[in-house]
Subunit: 197 residues, 2 copies
DNA sequence: CTGGGCTTTTGACAAATGTCACCCGGTCGG
DNA sequence: CCGACCGGGTGACATTTGTCAAAAGCCCAG
């Protein structure tokens, strides 16, 4: 019997996925949590074989949680298959990655594969991640753009990053150019689409 | 036995919710679809007692689907409880509205209530919708802002709406002011948060 | 019909954003 | 060592965006 811990912020979805996994005779859901920052304690208490993590969660996002527990068998389950997410998950040693629009059997299959020490990647997603490639932005450009995405103005970004306004404008301009965007808003959308910020 | 039709674009979630509803002895899921524009045909074919609709779907969004079938018992199920969504759903004659982060039993309860001719509103959400009130933007302001949200520049918006650039700037400025934002980006975020664009 | 209150429209002006050419300091190959 | 290259940082300048005061049209109550 494979013992599973389930973390997802949407209560109803969490219950629904638990019900789905419970249909499998060899899987049992031993605990459920709704916040990223509660996962560590729950893992310590219940010692699950596999942890299924949503990425979008309050407290701490699923990728950060995965990074904080190397060695733990983890399957990432996420709404949208952003190529950058997959890349980050791989870097954190995650061996299973399933988008929420995958067929229902894929999740159970992924849990079994990961429990057995193997890898499971959604084929669709793996392909698009290959296409997408690396994030073309430098660290500072990404810093500036992600603050802009939260609605900050140039002067606020400058204060946050301890830079002059001119520098910030320059980073944003570079980001806009590299992303093939025409202004800040389209640049933000493009970067979010790819999971880069 | 209450016959339910389920529409949600995320395959895995759809299966999970179906599994959850099937646990209830008096409910049965007679069909599932993954696109808004396939709902009408499926309803005609299967004649379900209640239709459970996600809002975010390709093809046609859940609210538009609900508007197109007055009289049909509908429960709206959505990821995020935007007050504007609830308002639009009520206007379309929807009698059940459940956010995805509600407790798992709420969905089955909502389906039963709606099937019996009653209403079911998530209490949390009803409260925040009361707080939020009507969208303060005029039609043209909303037009301009939603184009801006898709990344259009002032001049592009002006062409789309057949206006001069000055007028468009004025609309965006009014929207920014009414929403208590400090620039276009925060205004877009605020309006999306409330489900107004 | 008359006037008040609303949206829509406008252009002039001020402020923020985007672009450019450039400097500085590592570091990598020859 | 030297130069090419890359990322970080900067200010001056052009363009876009945001604000303001005002005018025209529309609808409704009086």
């Amino acid at each position: 019997m494979i013992r599973v811990l389930l973390a997802d912020d949407e209560h109803l979805i969490r219950g629904a996925i638990a019900s789905l996994l419970s249909l499998e005779p060899d899987l049992t859901v031993v605990a459920q949590v709704g916040r990223g920052d509660e996962v560590a304690a729950a893992v310590a208490e219940h010692r699950p074989d596999v942890v299924v993590l949503d990425i979008e969660m309050p407290g701490l996002d699923g990728l950060s949680v995965a990074e904080s527990m190397p060695g733990q068998a983890v399957v990432i389950l996420t709404s949208f298959g952003r190529p950058g997410y997959l890349r980050r998950a791989m870097a954190a040693g995650v061996r299973g990655f399933v988008p929420k629009d995958a067929p229902a059997e894929e999740l159970a299959a992924a849990v079994r594969k990961v429990h057995a020490g193997g890898r499971y990647l959604d084929p669709e997603l793996a392909a698009s991640a290959m296409m997408a490639g690396e994030c073309p932005l430098t660290d500072r450009e990404r810093d500036a753009l992600s603050l802009a995405a939260r609605g900050a103005s140039v002067s606020e970004i400058a204060v946050s990053l301890r830079l002059t306004e001119g520098t910030v404008r320059n980073y944003l301009s570079n980001a806009i150019m590299k992303l093939g965007a025409s202004n800040r808003i389209t640049a933000i959308r493009a970067a979010q689409e790819m999971g880069w910020i």
